[in-house]
C-alpha cells in the first residue's frame, strides 16, 4: 500500500527540492568523509599487516639492553649489553630443536664509499648458509668468498649498483678500508617484522664481519624461523625458561611478528578512529542542517498540520509524516554519499596508499554501508524533535497561523 503520509512527505521534499537537496549534501559529505577515512585507515592497516607478516614465522631473540645482569655473574646467565653470547646461542639451539631454523645475526652501522660517493648503512653479518633460509637473492649469487657481499634492492637502485661493483667500507680517516665485491642483489623485503631490514643494507659473511668489527660470537640478534607458526608460543616459552632463569631480571628479549604486529596495528587503528571522528564532525554539521530544514518544513506547514489534526489525523500519523521526510532526506544523502564514497574512497586509497588491492575486502568496503547507515540514523535523529513538535501542536493555534 502506498502510504498517504509518505506521499505527503515526498511531495513536500519535491516542493522544496533545492532546500532538501542542499541539506542532503551535508549528509553526502558526512557519509563520504566517514567511509573514505575508514577505508583509508583500514587499507593502510591491511597493507602494513601484509608487509609485516612476511616474517610471521620468525621469533626474534635479542639481548635485553636495559638489564645487564648482576655484577660478577657468569656470562652464561646474563647477557652483555652488546648481544647474545655463544652459550646463550647453544641454549637456544637446544630449546628450538632441529625442526626449526636458527639464524644468528651480527649487525652494525657503517660508513662506506662507492666510487667517490660516501654513504652510511646497516651491515648484517650472516653465515652464507643462513642467508637463503630467509632472504631471496633476485640477482647474482650468494656470498662465497670472504670479500663477497650482497646489497638490498633500494641500496642497489639508489647507487645504481651492478654485480661486480665494489664498496669501500669505513670512514675516510680509517687506516684500513677493506673493499667488498657485490655478488648479489636481494629482492625487496619492505618493512620486515623480523628486524632484518635489508632493502637499504649490506650483507656480508659472518667471518668478514667478525674480522672487521670483532665481537665474535656476540650476536646482535638470533632469529628462529619456526616450521609451524602455531608452535611459536611453545618455542618462545621454552627459550624463555632456558635463558631467563630469573623472571625479575630477564637477559634476553623474545618477540615475534604477532606481538609487534598487534602493536603497530593497534596504533594504526587508533589513527583510523581519530580520522573517523573527524569524518563524524562533518556528519554533526549535516545533522544541524537537516534539523534546520526539518524545522523550516514544520514551521512553514503549521496551518497544514492544524488542518490534519482538526480533521482527525492522529498525532502518531503527523509524527510519521515528518519522520518520513527525514528518512527521504537521509536516503537521498546516504545513497548519493554511498556512490560517491565508492568513487572518492577508491581514488583516495589509490592515491595515498598506492594500491587498491585491499579496497574491496569486506573489512574495507564495509565502511560504505556503515557510513550510509550512520548518515541515515543521523537524519532520523535530527528529524525526531521537529516531528514531535509538529504532532504536539495545538490544532486551534495551528489553524490560526498564517
Amino acid at each position: 500500500m502506498k502510504d498517504i503520509f509518505f506521499n505527503l512527505s515526498v511531495r513536500s521534499v519535491r516542493l522544496n527540492f533545492m532546500r532538501s537537496l542542499l541539506a542532503s549534501i551535508g549528509i553526502v559529505i558526512g557519509v563520504v568523509a566517514i567511509s573514505s577515512m575508514g577505508m583509508l585507515g583500514t587499507n593502510m592497516q591491511l597493507q602494513v599487516k601484509d608487509q609485516l607478516s612476511s616474517g610471521a614465522d620468525t621469533i626474534v631473540i635479542s639481548a635485553d639492553a636495559v638489564r645487564m645482569g648482576p655484577t660478577g655473574s657468569s656470562s652464561s646467565s646474563s647477557s652483555s649489553a652488546t648481544g647474545i653470547t655463544k652459550t646463550q646461542l647453544n641454549k637456544i639451539k637446544l630449546a628450538v630443536g632441529t625442526t626449526n631454523k636458527l639464524v644468528p645475526i651480527y649487525s652494525t652501522n657503517t660508513q662506506f664509499t662507492l666510487a667517490s660517493t660516501p654513504g652510511r648503512s646497516t651491515v648484517y653479518g650472516l653465515n652464507p648458509d643462513d642467508i637463503t633460509k630467509f632472504l631471496t637473492i633476485s640477482n647474482g649469487t650468494n656470498i662465497e668468498g670472504i670479500n663477497d657481499a650482497l646489497v638490498g634492492s633500494t641500496f642497489a637502485t639508489n647507487f645504481n649498483l651492478k654485480i661486480g661493483n665494489r664498496i669501500r667500507i669505513g670512514k675516510d680517516t680509517d687506516a684500513s678500508r677493506p673493499v667488498l665485491r657485490i655478488v648479489g642483489i636481494l629482492a625487496p623485503r619492505g618493512m620486515s617484522s623480523d628486524n632484518v631490514n635489508t632493502d637499504n643494507a649490506i650483507i656480508v659473511s659472518d667471518d668478514w664481519y667478525t674480522n672487521q668489527y670483532g665481537g665474535k660470537d656476540i650476536y646482535r640478534q638470533v632469529n628462529v624461523i619456526v616450521k609451524d607458526i602455531s608452535t611459536i608460543p611453545d618455542v618462545e616459552s621454552v627459550i624463555d625458561a632456558k635463558l631467563n632463569t630469573n623472571p625479575k631480571t630477564p637477559v634476553v628479549r623474545i618477540s615475534d611478528a604477532s606481538s609487534r604486529l598487534s602493536g603497530i596495528t593497534s596504533s594504526l587503528s587508533s589513527i583510523t578512529t581519530f580520522i573517523l571522528a573527524i569524518g563524524g564532525i562533518s556528519l554533526l554539521v549535516a545533522a544541524t542542517s537537516i534539523f534546520n530544514v526539518m524545522m523550516m518544513s514544520v514551521n512553514e506547514r503549521i496551518q497544514e498540520i492544524g488542518i490534519l489534526l482538526s480533521i482527525g489525523t492522529e498525532k502518531g500519523e503527523v509524527r510519521r509524516m515528518f519522520l518520513y521526510e527525514a528518512v527521504i532526506l537521509g536516503i537521498l544523502g546516504a545513497g548519493i554519499g554511498g556512490i560517491s564514497s565508492l568513487v572518492i574512497g577508491y581514488s583516495v586509497v589509490s592515491y595515498m596508499i598506492g594500491t587498491t588491492k585491499y579496497f574491496f575486502l569486506p573489512e574495507s568496503i564495509m565502511y560504505i554501508p556503515m557510513g550510509m547507515t550512520i548518515g541515515l540514523v543521523v537524519c532520523i535523529i535530527s528529524g525526531l524533535y521537529p516531528a514531535w513538535k509538529a504532532s504536539n501542536m495545538d490544532p486551534i493555534d495551528a489553524l490560526r497561523s498564517e
Binding site: M1, I4, L8, S310, G312, I396
Partner: protein, 225 residues
C-alpha cells in the same frame, strides 16, 4: 429509553488565562441540540462563536461544565478518542476551506477515508462524493491552488462528508465566496440536512441564518437569544 440529545452543553464555561487577565469566552452555556437540527450561531466578533465551534469540533475542552456529544463527555475522553470522534462523527467546513495544499482535490476527499480505514479508497466513495458536489474526474486531479473559492469549498464539503458524520460544523462557509456561490453552497448544506445530517453553521449573515431552523445568538459568551 430516555432520548439523549446529540449535543448537550451543561453549564459550559471556557476561560482563557491571558497575561492581561482571565478572559471568559463562554460563560455558563447550557444548550441542547437534537439530531437532524439545522442551527445557525450568530453574534458579533468576540461573542464566543469560534470558541463554541472549537468545543463542538472537540478541538478544545471546557474549563468547567460538561459537554456531551453522542452521549459522551468529551473532557473524559482520551486525546486519541477525541481524534477518532473528530474523524468519524464530525465533519468540519471552514471559512478558508483549509484543504491540504500538497494533495489533489480527489486525495483531499480520500484523506479522511485513509485515516479511518488505514488504506487507499477502493470503494469509490471519494469519487462519488466529489461527483455529488459537482466535480468531474478532470477537476478532481487539480490541486487546491488551481481551484476557485467555490470549487475549494465544494471539495471541503465532500471531504467533511466522506466518512458519513452525524454532525456538520460549518464555520462561515460562505464567508469567502461571492453571493451566488454562497447560496449554491447553502443549497448543498440544506440538501444534506434534509438527508438527516445535523448542520451547525456560524455566520454573520442573517440571509444565511434564514436557512436554519433555529438561531442561537451569542453575546459576551452567553446565549442572548
Amino acid at each position: 429509553m430516555i432520548d439523549t440529545p446529540l449535543i448537550r452543553f451543561a453549564d459550559v464555561s471556557k476561560v482563557y488565562h491571558l497575561e492581561s487577565g482571565d478572559f471568559t469566552a463562554l460563560d455558563h452555556i447550557s444548550l441542547e441540540i437534537e439530531d437532524n437540527e439545522f442551527i445557525a450561531i450568530m453574534g458579533p466578533s468576540g461573542s464566543g462563536k469560534s470558541t463554541m465551534m472549537n468545543q463542538l469540533g472537540i478541538l478544545d475542552v471546557p474549563t468547567s461544565g460538561e459537554l456531551f456529544i453522542s452521549g459522551r463527555d468529551v473532557a473524559k475522553m482520551t486525546a486519541l478518542e477525541r481524534t477518532h470522534m473528530r474523524r468519524d462523527t464530525i465533519g468540519y467546513i471552514f471559512q478558508n476551506f483549509y484543504l491540504i495544499p500538497l494533495l489533489s482535490a480527489y486525495e483531499n476527499v480520500e484523506y479522511p477515508l485513509i485515516l479511518k480505514y488505514k488504506k487507499r479508497d477502493e470503494s469509490g466513495k471519494a469519487s462519488a462524493m466529489l461527483k455529488a458536489v459537482g466535480f468531474d474526474e478532470a477537476m478532481s486531479a487539480h490541486r487546491p491552488t488551481q481551484l476557485s473559492g467555490g470549487q475549494q469549498q465544494r471539495v471541503a464539503i465532500a471531504r467533511a462528508l466522506v466518512n458519513d458524520p452525524k454532525i456538520l460544523l460549518c464555520d462561515e462557509p460562505t464567508g469567502n465566496l461571492d453571493r451566488k456561490t454562497g447560496f449554491q453552497i447553502m443549497d448543498i448544506l440544506c440538501g444534506l440536512h434534509s438527508e438527516g445530517k445535523t448542520v451547525i453553521i456560524v455566520t454573520h449573515d442573517p440571509k444565511i441564518a434564514e436557512y436554519a431552523n433555529r438561531t442561537i445568538t451569542l453575546e459576551d459568551g452567553r446565549i442572548a437569544a
